[in-house]
């Protein structure tokens, strides 16, 4: 990871300062009621959008440090159009997504309908450059890709 990316990451992931976004509006999709934890419903949710995250709290005010980390990473890459589902609003969703993903904790990240992992894995992908590449495959151009290219061409 180049120095500037590391510094940017350090600045925005500075735990004491980050407190959700608010400067942008991701496409927050509300989970519908009734059967919101069913595998059919979740199947639909994770396939509907290229980037889907399940968080504790809304993205503008996450109520969990790990969920906030996911939000901040997506913000660093200037990913604005993604689906966010707040499990704290819906216990059925919270239990359902854990069973659906076979993953015991929140946050959870899906890229291109495929489960990627939680906060630790997304952070690792962000730090080692994999996230930029995965987003590129989805046709999503991370602003960090442009930074990286500037660095490489110098």
């Amino acid at each position: 990871m180049s120095g500037s990316l590391g510094r940017a990451a350090a600045a925005l992931l500075c735990w004491g300062h980050s407190a959700g976004g608010g400067l942008w509006g991701p496409g927050v999709r509300a989970a519908s009621s009734g059967g919101s934890g069913s595998s059919e419903h979740l199947d639909m949710l994770v396939k509907k959008d290229r980037v889907v995250v399940f968080l504790k709290g809304p993205p503008e005010q996450p109520q969990c440090g790990f969920s906030n980390t996911v939000v901040q990473i997506l913000r660093l890459h200037s990913i604005r159009d993604y689906a966010v589902y707040n499990v704290l609003d819906d216990p059925q969703l919270q239990q359902g997504i854990k069973a659906y993903s076979n993953w015991p904790t929140i946050p959870q990240v899906y890229l291109n309908s495929e489960f990627v992992g939680g906060c630790d894995i997304l952070l690792q992908m962000h730090q080692n450059g994999d996230l930029v590449e995965e987003l590129k495959k989805l046709g999503i151009r991370s602003t960090l890709l442009d930074e990286k290219k500037d660095q490489d061409s110098k």
Binding site: G16, Q61, Q63, G65, F66, S67, W103, P104, T105, I121
Partner: protein
């Protein structure tokens, strides 16, 4: 109290050994922490196992064992993706994760990866969890 790195370098001469560092602040190791340690040792035969009870930093009662961070260093992770490694850890701790443990931050490294950066990361601060009063919409 010896730092984790100093302990690690002393023990590396003695061959493979499980270096377990318990919770720094709470003192006594609770039953959940003990179970996590035992199960990960059995399942993954780790060279290094660093486990920290982070419940004290969250909106839970004192003495809770709900939030943990673990660094597991094992050759069994060779060739496995991060997702596969985390699933191995989850499988070993399925009872705890279905029960008292709400959060588990995992660093799953091969021995070579650990030598490059032998330290337990820090977790982000708690933002209140479900108990936090909601702000303005």
């Amino acid at each position: 109290m010896l730092s984790g790195q100093l302990v690690g370098s002393l023990f590396s001469m003695a061959g493979r050994v499980c270096v377990s560092r318990g919770s720094a602040r709470s003192g006594a190791i609770g039953p959940v922490e003990a179970a996590i340690r035992t199960k990960l040792e059995q399942a993954l035969n780790p060279e290094v196992l660093e486990l920290r009870n982070e419940s004290g930093g969250h909106a839970v009662p004192p003495g809770s064992e709900t939030h943990f961070r673990v660094a597991v260093v094992s050759s069994r992770f060779e060739g496995l993706s991060p997702l596969q490694r985390h699933r191995l850890v989850h499988a070993a701790l399925s009872d705890e994760l279905a029960g008292p443990v709400h959060a588990l931050a995992i660093q799953a490294r091969t021995p070579a990866q650990w030598r490059e950066n032998p330290q337990l990361d820090t977790s982000p601060p708690c933002l209140g969890g479900s108990k936090k009063t909601r702000g303005t919409p």
